[in-house]
């Protein structure tokens, strides 16, 4: 029983990281109908920025964290401006390919700048543990869970309660109509990329104590975040996090109870099952294409 709870907590913590990356996908998808395959690499880059600020320049953890988030938000805007905006509205395949290219580029450049070693960031949560009876919970895992809940709530409020959030949803439904309504669509898209890069950075920094930051971490985790996003229904913010947590728990349970090899495959088996049985995901809207 204790093992089970221990596995559950570490699964939830890992799942929250998947959820945060998936959240980045979902934000961009919600606002522009673009699927960003470079999301995991933005996370990796965010982790490296934080490492540079905290580990190499010796800044305070929170200052470095904030600095990395701001820097990555600007970088997200830049990437949107250069790579995505010229092809916005063209078939999804082109945009997917462009973001795959962006991911390749970021991975290699990060490898060139920071090398291919593993890096670790010292955080205030790195050492502490919380004991409940004989249950031992590490602070770094709890910090991921807490941060995910806070971020998810903030983003949900932002999308559903603020004018800018409504503008984002409007521009994804029909960009032309949004223009007519006076929504500055270009700026909206730019902001949503900044937010999604910032969320990715949070994921990267929170992940740093659990797994190390290296230049390929984005590819590995980014691809696990897809099942999460699909499981939750691709356009839903709570869905992304719930999907991420489910995938994380499934992965860690499969690693513990099933024979070796299932751990890496289980998320994809679940994904295929979900796509077969309920392609719109757990929280997705059921829609039918009209002629």
């Amino acid at each position: 029983m204790l093992d089970f709870v221990q596995q559950l907590v570490s699964g939830v913590a890992l799942g929250c990281v998947y959820g945060l990356i998936a959240l980045g996908f979902v934000l961009v998808y919600k606002a522009t109908e673009v699927v960003n395959f470079a999301q995991g690499d933005l996370m990796m880059l965010g982790g490296f920025f934080a490492f540079t600020f905290i580990g190499m320049m010796g800044l305070n953890y929170w200052v470095g964290f904030a600095g990395a988030v701001v820097a990555m938000a600007l970088f997200g805007m830049l990437a949107e401006r250069i790579v995505v905006r010229p092809i916005l509205g063209y078939p999804q395949f082109s945009i997917i390919m462009a973001t795959i290219g962006l991911g390749y580029f970021l991975r290699s450049v990060a490898g060139m700048i920071w090398g291919t070693d593993d890096f670790k960031i010292e955080t205030p949560f790195s050492r502490g543990v919380l004991r409940i009876g004989s249950l031992v919970l590490a602070h770094d895992k709890l910090s991921v869970i807490a941060a995910t809940i806070i971020l998810c709530a903030l983003l949900w409020l932002f999308f559903n309660k603020t004018t800018l959030g409504t503008a984002m949803r409007a521009s994804s439904e029909n960009m032309l109509a949004a223009y007519y309504m006076g929504i500055p669509v270009k700026r909206v898209v730019s902001i949503v990329w900044a937010i999604s890069a910032a969320v990715a950075t949070c994921a990267g920094v929170l992940l740093a104590p659990i797994t190390f930051i290296h230049s390929n971490v984005g590819l590995v985790l980014g691809l696990k975040a897809f099942p999460a996003a699909v499981l939750g229904g691709f356009g839903s913010i709570p869905g992304a996090v719930v999907g991420g947590v489910l995938i994380g728990v499934i992965e860690s349970m499969a690693g513990f109870y099933l024979p070796e090899g299932w751990k890496d495959v289980a998320p994809y088996v679940v994904l295929l099952a979900v796509l077969l049985l309920k392609p719109e995901g757990l929280f997705g809207l059921h829609v039918r294409k009209k002629v």
């Binding site: 790579v83 082109s94 390749y104 580029f105 060139m112 691709f234 796509l275 077969l276």
Partner: protein, 383 residues
């Protein structure tokens, strides 16, 4: 400029619309046939890879270019073909039998993947094919009695009609070339048949195709099966060329390379698969060139422009350090993909068509001929 007057449908679907095609393709074929006796063995080896990649490119074009179903899982089909060949070879099955068996088996797997894909579109299909590829990769690593796990399988040289064909011999090159040419001709024939027209109709509008009486589900599965089968055949040749296969060769990276092949070549025509394959395969020799010769060349240029020997040496070592950076290949891939998507969405073949049209219409060419229409995003969720 040549004007083609078409008086009936047979004129429209002719394989060689006019005699110029026969001459130019005849010359190309002649050049390819004498290539082994002219080119160095390294270039010949690259040319074999071009043939294999182009075969996969054609397969992917049938699925992605003509049926409009994106796939990022073709490395898995290649792997299934390669492992079938390696496994059957152990039991002394003759080459023609396991070559065809690999095609049939991969085709069946492709059809099986096609069934779940019926309900999926766009991004979901991409993700589903990625997952399929991951699962296949893991099975290859774990099913040790057949695949020998992560240690990989050795593939013996193929023997055809009692003659052993080594992987570097001209005969092997001719075999790969023959497979490529037959695939291309077969695909051209497929595309001008009712099946091919149904594929294109599904790509352009699934709803319209259905209302015209096209059985969308059947043709999607067919497209998956054909594409997978051709990839499986290419996989057999791939296994023989490498003479050793292991699961980590068939990763997502390889699937992405296949997509890059058709993206760079041009996604609307079979020429694209071949041009893209040449591009992808030749990037390695180009990088080696960059590493070995470029520093000297740039230092020479610097020296001619009045830099002293010390500066020139400095420049040379800087350039050498840059060219041997670890991730350079990945960065170049990334930049190339982005540049093509942004500035040349029709690929290399599209560029060739533009140049051709420029000279045909000489003073009257307008850039707007190939300009894409500005489109606005409309949600696919509520459409």
């Amino acid at each position: 400029m040549r004007f083609l007057f078409k008086t009936d449908y047979d004129d429209d679907i002719r394989l060689f619309p006019h005699s110029g095609y026969v001459v130019s393709y005849g010359l190309l074929l002649a050049a390819l046939l004498i290539a082994p006796y002219v080119l160095s063995s390294y270039l010949m080896s690259q040319l074999v890879f071009v043939c294999i990649y182009a075969t996969v490119g054609v397969a992917l074009l049938i699925l992605t270019g003509f049926t409009g179903q994106a796939s990022l899982g073709h490395a898995a089909f290649l792997a299934i073909g390669a492992y079938t060949a390696a496994y059957l070879q152990k039991y002394n099955v003759p080459f023609p039998v396991y070559f065809l068996a690999a095609g049939v088996l991969t085709g069946c797997v492709g059809a099986l993947v096609g069934f779940p894909a019926l309900r999926l579109q766009g991004i979901y299909l991409v993700i589903a094919t990625i997952s399929f590829a991951f699962i296949v990769e893991e099975i290859l690593a774990r099913w040790e009695s057949v695949t020998n796990g992560n240690e990989g399988l050795r593939v013996k040289a193929l023997s055809l009609l009692g003659v052993t064909v080594s992987r570097d011999s001209p005969t092997f090159y001719f075999l790969c070339l023959a497979v490529l040419v037959l695939t291309i001709v077969g695909t051209l024939n497929l595309l001008r048949s009712p099946t091919g027209r149904a594929f294109v109709a599904i790509r352009d509008s699934e709803t319209a195709a259905r209302s015209m009486g096209v059985n969308v589900a059947l043709y999607k599965v067919k497209s998956f099966a054909i594409s997978a089968a051709i990839t499986g055949l290419a996989g057999v040749l791939f296994a023989h060329k490498l003479s050793f296969i292991s699961p980590e060769m068939f990763t997502l990276q390889l699937s992405i390379e296949f997509i890059i092949v058709i993206l760079i070549g041009g996604i609307f025509s079979l020429h694209g698969a071949v041009l893209g394959a040449i591009f992808i395969v030749m990037i390695d020799p180009f990088l080696t060139y960059l590493k070995d010769d470029m520093p000297g060349v740039i230092a020479g240029i610097a020296a001619t422009f009045g830099a002293g020997p010390a500066t020139a040496g400095n420049v040379q070592s800087k350039v050498a350090a840059f060219a041997s950076l670890n991730g350079l290949k990945g960065a170049i891939y990334g930049i190339i993909i982005m540049l093509f998507v942004l500035f040349e969405p029709l690929g290399l073949y599209g560029r060739w068509l533009k140049i051709k049209l420029f000279f045909q219409l000489f003073p009257l060419y307008k850039r707007a001929t190939f300009k894409r229409q500005k489109i606005y995003v409309k949600s696919e969720r509520n459409r």
